[in-house]
Symmetry: C2
Subunit: 370 residues, 2 copies
């Protein structure tokens, strides 16, 4: 397949060569494009070149060569310098389409507009990919594979710029979604920034809990606090940049929290139980709306758990046999088993295959525990 | 292995034969004990007998037989009737040790004490096991395998009662932990009840979110809201019964939430960024204290993701090869891939095996994406 972007774009300059910038560079070089990388840190820029993300602009200039005029500039710098670098790129490269990939969109568009830059050549985008490590060493050309990439053209954006932005997302293997910048920011506030805040608020309660109490923690606590392990430096920038939509949601959370606290202070009062039930049911309703695998409509799968020796060989054999039985796995998870070397593999399958599969696995000697 | 409980206990009466009661019955029958089940619902009691959880007391009496005097009574009824049924069991069976398995302990001990019952023969316990389904049909004798079972004797409990309670937990395959009732309730408030509340509060924000926005949801939202799908009826009872410790924690959450809202309302103010960073770092600190697999000390694993065809066969082959390479899997997860039939398998391993494993998998042609 000839990538669409390769047919329409000459040299590409990637500004900022951390995890995301270097991954964009790697992905575009794989597609055969001529990529150049620039970073405020000379070391980061050199590492990005070393891993094959593109030619270092500093190295180029040290060799007495000129940066070829880019047709596409991707600004992949930290959120707090994106406006400045985007405005600068639009001015320095008057033929280039300039895209940014920061996780907040409306404030950046507003900033670029306020600077009087040429908005016909600018499109904000947000690839929803990442990993726990940062820096160019962690970069992978396949980082965007199957992840959403939201393209958020402002009203001034020209057709060529929009088309280049869409092609970039598709060519790097991402799933393209179009949104207004404001709509994007409200969406990520709700599906990403507020969950991050709630997870951090919850996890911070555990700072002084004795470890032998925490050893009783189940998968529920692990799941609800996993993202609380994220990088504070990055989240300061994201939360500051998207403060308004996040605060609006947090006010709603506080209303519900206040109501619950008032109720639990008098749990025997008339209506208290109904009030708690209502709050829990509202949580049920919200949770049920999150789409399942493959981005389809919300769907309920049947779930069971198999106790296995905790070795990759045994889990592999289990999955092989599920395949032999002819049932497709919708989700699976290896659960932690406090204190014992037994693995609990939780498997989700289509409800209409559930009973047969459990019977067949038990017949084959597997320990289906729940 | 001769189970310790079988050597010390005659007939066992299980009162309440839902998921947990029937699972206790099944597990004890597996150990060769003589088990009788009683439930307020004749149907539930009959189903429990049908699945082999024990002899139905109603069926016994209809056949003109007498219930043999039990040496152990396990009260496995819903939290709101546990005190009444425990007091009644202590009075009706003056030789029996009576245990309950409800998820809150101090209010039950207080209730049984207030009724003037014989506390030397009573011990409250809490097996931390469950599943998404309820009722005796969902019961499994292995439900408690590798799960914590907290035994919380009150100050009046006698040695025989404590010993029977410990043996029950161990014989059913659980991991025994001893705690004071009050300490137990504070612990579960923090590691189970407050996480449930936070997950429900977060998920209820999604009630009116358009589905095409929710289709951008990543694993973070899925993980933080998973337990919001829990049964409201059960949680009303748990939260009402453990209201005080839960409310204490929720007040602390509200303090942090208020602070964050105030900060985000003026994100450009002096000190705002530091304040957000602090809150995030506190979340980091709490999250890092949750013990990892096998209940050991907190431990960081190295994580990478492999893109695979989304079939059980391929995932099985991946795990087989990881086993061949000789690396032990610490955790794994199959991630959802919105819109594309590609599975992303995230694998956690010991940090010192990480680099070798990734190199070897890539050499074997696996697509390590991040």
């Amino acid at each position: 397949m000839v990538p669409a972007i390769a047919t329409s774009t000459g040299p590409v300059l990637v500004i900022g060569s951390g995890l995301l910038g270097a991954s964009v560079g790697l992905g575009l070089r794989h597609l055969g494009l001529d990529v150049y990388v620039r970073d405020s840190s000379p070391t980061t820029e050199a590492v990005a070149q070393d891993i094959g993300a593109g030619r270092s602009v500093r190295a180029l200039q040290a060799a007495g060569e000129q940066l070829p005029e880019p047709e596409l500039v991707v600004v992949a710098a930290p959120p707090d310098v994106v406006v400045e670098l985007t405005v600068q790129a639009l001015a320095e490269h008057p033929r280039a389409v300039v895209l940014d990939i920061a996780s907040v969109k409306a404030p950046i568009l507003d900033g670029v507009r306020a600077a009087g830059a040429d908005l016909t050549r600018y499109v904000g985008t947000h690839p929803m990919a990442g990993r726990e490590k940062s820096g160019p060493v962690a970069a992978r050309g396949e980082l965007f594979t199957s992840m959403p990439w939201v393209v958020c053209p402002g009203p001034e954006a020209g057709a060529r710029a929009i088309s280049v932005a869409k092609n970039l997302a598709v060519d790097l293997g991402a799933t393209l979604t179009m949104m207004e910048p404001q709509e994007h920011d409200e969406t990520v506030a709700l599906i990403s920034h507020v969950p991050q805040v709630m997870s951090s608020l919850l996890a911070s309660r555990l700072q002084d809990t004795p470890l032998h109490h925490l050893s009783l923690a189940g998968q529920g606590l692990r799941d609800t606090t996993r993202i609380a392990g994220s990088d504070p430096g990055l989240w300061v920038q994201i939360l500051s940049a998207n403060a308004q939509p996040v605060v609006r949601s947090l006010h709603e959370v506080r209303k519900d929290l206040d109501r619950l606290i008032a109720t639990l202070e008098h749990p025997e009062a008339d209506g208290a139980r109904l009030d708690i039930a209502q709050l829990m049911a509202e949580g049920n309703a919200g949770q049920a709306r999150i789409p399942g695998k493959h981005g389809g409509a919300p769907k309920a799968f049947s779930t069971f758990t198999v106790a296995v020796d905790d070795t990759p060989g045994t889990i592999a054999r289990l999955l092989t046999e599920i395949g032999e039985i002819g049932v497709n796995l919708e989700d699976m998870r290896l659960e932690h088993s406090p204190g014992q070397p037994v693995g609990l593999v939780t498997v989700s399958v289509e409800p209409n295959r559930y009973a047969d599969l459990v019977d067949e696995l038990q017949a084959r000697g597997w320990k289906v525990v729940q």
